[in-house]
């Protein structure tokens, strides 16, 4: 067992102590996450547990609004770690993701040197301006050099160009960053890493291979009811169940945009504020626009709900 333990192997390579596992079992994950009001499915708990044990990042994929980002936040919350977030976008480059030399400060340092009678030689100066002091750490570097426990969230990784993905590979598999002027910066801990993707494009094989994959779909009605109950104060069990069922039924329809979990919550809050205790045709007619964002979808939903059979 120990010969195979990836956490131990990784810790040895990084020259750090083998960290204690964050979770005892998948059920432990469920319990901890439920404690911070995130209700994970069995699959989510199992994969989160596995990722910690294998010291691998989790690639979370699924439709918008199903709690991918919230999962990372909840794990950070539950394990008492700091969440470091890197929002991806087109044009993201290493100076925004990894590190950047603070060249304004470097220029100042050089100009300040000139004023005096220029004692320092160029090589001394060079060593000086390419040191930690002049390095601006960006999220990825910050995550691995942090002393306190952190959870790294790389959000919407499918938005960066496929070439930029390569930036992530070193940190995801080796937990280190190579900086030409400084050498290799190794992680001081093995952070929990989550990557999220809306699947707008195929991610590279290299990236996928380094991660464990988690598909987060829409929850089943029972779990969605529980989510509503835990997030919406003052709602009755009956109404929460009906809401969850309604959303489930709507997702079966061929809509342009199926309602997400966050929209379900918005809808539930609306119904509570309006004082409804039960769903009915007039409630649906008045409030469906909270749940559905396209006129054609709302029309389709009304038609389906009023049709017999």
């Amino acid at each position: 067992m120990s010969a195979l333990d990836p956490r131990q192997a990784l810790a040895e390579r990084l020259g750090i102590e083998v960290p204690a596992p964050r979770f005892d079992s998948p059920d432990d994950v469920s319990m901890l996450l439920s404690g911070v009001d995130y209700l994970p499915s069995r699959e989510i708990s199992a994969v989160t547990f596995l990722a910690d044990r294998l010291a691998k990042p989790v690639l979370v994929e699924g439709p918008a609004g199903t709690g991918k980002t919230a999962l990372a936040a909840a794990v950070a919350d539950a394990t008492g770690a700091r969440l470091i977030r890197l929002q991806c976008y087109e044009g993201l480059d290493e100076s925004k993701a990894l590190y950047e030399w603070n060249y304004r400060k470097q220029l100042l340092r050089i100009q300040a040197g000139r004023r005096e009678d220029d004692q320092t030689s160029w090589s001394e100066l060079e060593d000086d301006i390419f040191s930690d002091e002049f390095l601006l750490t960006r999220p990825l570097l910050e995550a691995i050099t942090a002393e306190d426990p952190v959870v790294l969230l790389i959000d919407e990784v499918d938005r960066v160009e496929i070439e930029t993905e390569a930036l992530l590979l070193e940190i995801l598999s080796e937990y280190q960053v190579s900086i030409p002027e400084l050498g290799t910066v190794r992680a001081r801990q093995i952070p929990m890493v989550f990557l999220t993707s809306n699947a707008t494009r195929e991610l590279s094989e290299a990236l996928k291979r380094r991660c464990v994959f988690l598909h987060v779909g829409y929850p089943d009605p029972e779990r969605e009811r529980d989510i509503v109950l835990s997030r919406v104060p003052g709602i009755s069990g009956q109404l929460a169940y009906q809401i969850a069922q309604m959303v489930y039924s709507l997702r079966q329809l061929p809509l342009r945009k199926a309602p997400s979990v966050s929209e379900t919550l918005d809808w539930a809050r609306t119904l509570v504020i309006l004082g409804y205790e039960e769903l009915g045709p007039e409630v649906a007619a008045q409030t469906l626009h909270v749940l559905l964002k396209y006129q054609s979808d709302i029309a389709a939903a009304h038609e389906a709900l009023s049709a017999e059979g």
């Binding site: 067992m1 195979l4 990836p6 079992s25 998948p26 069995r42 699959e43 708990s45 199992a46 994969v47 547990f49 596995l50 044990r53 294998l54 691998k56 989790v58 690639l59 994929e61 699924g62 060249y103 304004r104 220029l107 160009e161 496929i162 699947a199 707008t200 494009r201 195929e202 094989e205 996928k208 291979r209 991660c211 464990v212 994959f213 988690l214 598909h215 009605p221 009956q238 169940y241 009906q242 069922q245 309604m246 489930y248 039924s249 079966q252 061929p254 342009r256 039960e278 769903l279 009915g280 045709p281 409630v283 649906a284 396209y294 054609s296 389906a304 709900l305 009023s306 017999e308």
Partner: protein
């Protein structure tokens, strides 16, 4: 156990899932840290390490059921009141009448008692499927026999009358009750499937069963011979596929060249480096986009293929400066506006099927006449940037082929491509006249699956 894992991975690769060696290693490690006794957790964990694409989920699940079912060496939960799956049951069960059995099933469905449901599925298969060892029939046969006896439709009706979600006071709640009843029934059907599969695996071994249950990946399904279910699945696969394709085309177009120098941005950026322009900024490039004209045969045999292609082309229409679509049987009609007026491709497809005026004579494909009208209608509205895409099997019902219209068109456009959904081996046999058109096309391609279609479209520019 590791041997079983290797055989399972071999099966995944046979299905066509890309499983790398390092993923195999990860799965093996995962098995060490996770308890194998919890099937659901075990399945999630294997899937997380082996399958990195959610479109392959179903194929994985099917293979998993085959390889890791029926091996419940007593350490997995068996539903209460049921013996091991493979031995014919003795005891209380057979003595119950069909009526009592149905009542028990209904109770289990109402309570959503997983153990009882599993027991009911096992009991149902035992009672009704007529399972025999060594009998060379597929799971579908046993499934049919089991479900026929159960009469799940009336169970569903009673279930929804019970008001699972709330009293049946208004039509919204009625609808919700009906959907919920259906959901629970379909969960039970899954359990029945699983039970039958378990017995089959026990009888014949995993490899033999995998042979018959293997799923075709959506992108490899032959569109012309797809079943209804497969077509539905293709429909679902098409949306993410076209999104991926569009972003790939857009990216390629953007990357190819950068635009002219952007003086204003460059000077602004140089301020932070003491006026030294370290970062030179360029304007984003604006390369010309190609125009696309699609002519699709929508007669019976190739209609579904035409639908998918039109659907895909319009989904990525932003990547072209102009897209026009025509459909034909023996008359031609333009259908571009159907796609422009709705966001829902299914609606557009429906309107094409019902409203497009494509029948001029007897309703059999006539490529010669269609080409004539097509060229006539395009008139001078094509130019050197236009790419023409013709979809069809070129089965001309022995009408005149008239390739001269195609030759004439080719003079005026950039390229003509012909996508043929028939296997290459059938071309030019019977009334297929591909060979007459081929010299006037840039290329004639066999295009039977989404994968081939995607490859072709992404090569367009």
């Amino acid at each position: 156990m590791f041997d079983l894992l290797s055989r399972f991975i071999a099966e995944l690769r046979r299905v066509g899932l890309p499983v790398s060696v390092s993923e195999h290693v990860d799965a093996a490690r995962a098995m060490e840290v996770i308890s194998v006794s919890d099937r659901e957790v075990f399945k999630s964990v294997l899937r997380a390490t082996l399958v990195k694409d959610s479109t392959y989920r179903e194929a994985f699940d099917t293979a998993f059921e085959v390889y890791f079912t029926g091996r419940r060496d007593g350490d997995l939960d068996l539903g209460p009141g049921a013996g091991p799956g493979s031995t014919p049951s003795s005891g209380a069960q057979p003595e119950r009448s069909d009526r009592e059995f149905t009542e028990d099933l209904l109770d289990a469905l109402v309570e959503q008692n997983e153990g009882a449901l599993r027991g009911a599925a096992r009991g149902a298969v035992e009672r009704y499927s007529g399972f025999e060892r060594g009998r060379p029939v597929g799971g579908a046969y046993y499934r049919y026999r089991t479900l026929r006896h159960l009469d799940l439709d009336s169970v569903a009706e009673r279930l929804s009358a019970l008001g699972l979600v709330g009293e049946n006071e208004n039509e919204v709640l009625e609808r919700l009750n009906r959907d919920e009843a259906r959901r629970r029934i379909s969960h039970f059907e899954d359990l029945v499937d699983q039970e039958i599969l378990e017995r089959l695996v026990d009888d014949r071994g995993a490899e033999a069963v995998a042979e018959t249950t293997r799923e075709t990946l959506p992108e490899d399904v032959d569109v012309m011979h797809a079943t209804r279910d497969e077509l539905d699945e293709l429909e679902r696969a098409l949306a993410p596929l076209s999104r991926k394709l569009a972003s790939r085309l857009a990216r390629r177009r953007r990357r190819r060249r950068r635009g002219p120098l952007d003086m204003r941005h460059t000077v602004r950026a140089s301020l932070s480096t003491g006026g030294v322009p370290l970062d030179i900024k360029f304007r984003p490039p604006r390369p010309a986009k190609p125009e696309l004209v699609v002519l699709a045969d929508v007669s019976g045999s190739v209609a579904s293929f035409a639908r998918f292609t039109l659907h895909l082309v319009h989904a990525i229409s932003e990547e072209f400066s102009k897209v026009r679509s025509f459909v034909f049987v023996d008359g031609v009609d333009e259908v571009t506006h159907f796609f422009a007026e709705t966001d829902d491709p299914a609606v557009a497809a429906h309107r094409i099927a019902t409203e497009a005026d494509v029948i001029a004579a007897d309703g059999h494909s006539d490529y010669g006449r269609a080409l004539e009208r097509f060229v006539e209608r395009l008139g001078h509205d094509v130019n050197r940037r236009t790419t023409v895409l013709i979809l069809g099997d070129a089965r001309n019902n022995y009408h005149a082929a008239r390739p001269e219209f195609l030759a004439d068109l080719r003079e005026r456009v950039r390229a003509i491509y012909w996508l043929n959904p028939e296997p290459r081996a059938y071309w030019n046999s019977g009334d297929s006249v591909v060979a007459l058109y081929e010299p006037h096309c840039e290329e004639v391609l066999e295009c039977r699956t989404l994968r081939q279609l995607e490859e072709f479209v992404s090569s367009l520019d």
